[in-house]
């Protein structure tokens, strides 16, 4: 397994030196929605810089559902932040819809690890916030915010089990409920690209499984492109079409697994032999990387 990774890594380095055009056209006909070309990201400068990502190249097709898994601090969240345009790459390129990130015309919805609801707004106002900012909804904000947009927000809140909580303030809700509201905010403007940073991490197992079903339903009906960062391997195998396993810091792509299971998937399926086997394989892979990183840390000290 490790040798395979080393070979792939060498090949990546080789392509990153080559011309951009060759790298972008060598993978079939349809242009991917998201493309990372040998992206390195370092937080901080000089001696104290921490490299979160190292020459990572990923392609994600339109309408795909990709889960990023890996040990803590492997740069999963960094990838989301790069795609969302919150940080920019130290070296390398991030393309979204064929243009460099930030210049693209793609509606993005993002849910973070923390609910990050604005405390001075009610839950409904928080959910409606993207409609106030993003076109084409922005133009209708003045006329529709009390009717159509309000109903839209209520419908979404009801879908995640929060009907009747629209007029509450975020701090009046439990952590799990805040997280659900934040998920609604990521979805309200019908994004074509959905970035989810461990959105279910703080929820109990039953709520989590409930929301998996909601998210799957949503993906099947609207077909947005989804990148989901998660620690939960069951979650990744249940929801995603593709699971990308990252190595320990600095993060690299270690394994790119296609999830073969039929849709729609149900919770019972997560106890099937094939599903469990996939989980176990991913788990042992991550355990291996973690062990590797601990050894190298020990050697450095």
């Amino acid at each position: 397994m490790l040798r395979k990774w080393a070979v792939r890594h060498e090949r990546e380095q080789a392509t990153s030196v080559g011309a951009l055009a060759t790298t972008r056209s060598d993978r079939g006909t349809r242009d991917p929605l998201i493309e990372f070309e040998s992206v390195t990201l370092a937080y901080g400068r000089g001696e104290s810089a921490v490299r979160a990502l190292d020459k990572t190249s990923i392609k994600i097709g339109e309408g795909d559902f990709v889960a990023l898994v890996g040990p803590s601090g492997c740069g999963k969240s960094t990838i989301l932040k790069l795609v969302g345009g919150l940080i920019s790459a130290t070296t390398g390129y991030v393309f979204v819809a064929g243009r460099e990130v930030g210049a693209e015309d793609v509606r993005i919805g993002m849910a973070f690890q923390n609910p990050t609801l604005l405390p001075w707004l009610t839950v409904r106002q928080n959910v409606m916030l993207p409609l106030k900012i993003v076109q084409p909804f922005r133009s209708g904000w003045g006329s529709k915010r009390k009717t159509e947009y309000r109903d839209r927000a209520e419908a979404l809140l009801a879908q995640v089990g929060l009907s009747g909580f629209g007029d509450k303030h975020p701090w009046q809700l439990s952590g799990g409920m805040q997280q659900r509201a934040s998920l609604c905010r990521a979805l309200i403007h019908d994004p074509t690209l959905l970035l989810l940073d461990e959105p279910f991490g703080a929820l109990d197992q039953f709520t989590r499984e409930e929301l998996w079903a909601v998210l799957q339903e949503l993906w099947l009906t609207r077909k947005p492109t989804v990148i989901l960062v998660t620690h939960d391997l069951r979650e990744s195998a249940f929801l995603a079409n593709r699971i990308v396993v990252m190595s320990a810091r600095p993060g690299r792509v270690l394994e790119d697994e296609t999830v073969p299971f039929e849709r729609p998937r149900n919770i019972a399926m997560t106890y099937d032999a094939a599903f469990v086997a996939l989980n176990q394989r991913l788990r042992s892979l991550i355990v291996e990387v973690r062990a590797g990183s601990e050894v190298s840390l020990g050697a450095a000290a």
Binding site: I108, M110, T116, L118, L129, K168, S174
Partner: protein
């Protein structure tokens, strides 16, 4: 609810008690009204001379509010400018601290020198004195906004102005109102001082003239007027503050399902 009422009643009783004590102490010790007039004398003067006091009070209120309003407007703009970027905040902060710790009272003679006696120096003093609390608070409120909250809007490709309007300013509101309450009381200090030094109108001027003729009850009447005006404005801002920043003073009422 009962506890709140009781607390209010106690506050009122204390204020009344203060005046009663003052009255009785003056009577018992036989203090001359040229040294310290009794509250009853002050109130009598206030009502009997009200037609004469009124224009001065109006002038002072007008000068203070104009200066305060301009000062707050400039303060918010400067604060938004300084607080919107980390570099601007770090660069401007030392200068800001320098300005705000200079006694603004000391610039009154300069204003008089530039603009002569009258309303203008009073307004300028009131502006100068009310700008800095607002600038410091608004810029601090903006500069300490959690980046996570801004990220929510940045992923939506919001413009800088959108972020300021939807996250920065609401977040800075509690800071802003705290500074308003400080600024409005300071604005009175500025106005009255400028009136005392160089003006022919306003409560400050009236008190000046009254003290030179040893009309001490009138001096105290001026003081009472100032206190009342100050309290009214303070209360006004407190009520507005409660309306706008209730979220920052929440009680722990958690709803769960």
């Amino acid at each position: 609810m009962m506890a709140k009422l009781r607390q209010k009643a106690a506050s009122i009783a204390l204020i009344l008690g203060f005046f009663v004590f003052w009255e009785l102490a003056c009577l018992a010790l036989g203090v001359s009204d040229i040294i310290l007039p009794r509250p009853s004398q002050v109130f009598y003067t206030l009502f009997s001379r009200w037609p004469a006091i009124m224009p001065h009070a109006a002038q002072t209120l007008y000068t203070t509010l104009v200066g305060f309003a301009i000062g707050v407007a400039i303060g918010v703009c400067l604060g938004a400018l300084i607080g919107s970027s980390k570099i601007a905040y770090d660069t401007a902060y030392p200068l800001l601290v320098g300005f705000s710790s200079t006694p603004k009272i000391a610039v009154v003679p300069i204003f008089v020198l530039w603009f002569g006696a009258g309303t203008v120096p009073a307004i300028l003093t009131s502006i100068a004195i009310s700008i800095f609390p607002v600038v410091v608070n608004v810029s601090t409120g903006l500069a300490t906004t959690e980046p996570e909250l801004e990220d929510v809007l940045r992923t939506l490709k919001a413009r800088k102005l959108d972020i300021l309007w939807n996250v920065g300013l609401p977040r800075a509101m509690p800071y802003f109102f705290a500074s308003l309450k400080v600024a409005v009381t300071l604005a009175f200090v500025g106005t009255v001082l400028a009136e005392t030094v160089a003006s022919n109108r306003g409560i400050g001027n009236m008190m000046m003239i009254a003290s030179s003729t040893f009309n001490v009850p009138l001096v105290f009447a001026g003081l009472f007027v100032l206190a009342t005006l100050g309290i009214c404005l303070y209360v006004g801002f407190s009520l507005t503050e409660k309306h706008f920043t209730g979220w920052a003073n929440r009680k722990s009422e958690i709803v769960t399902v």
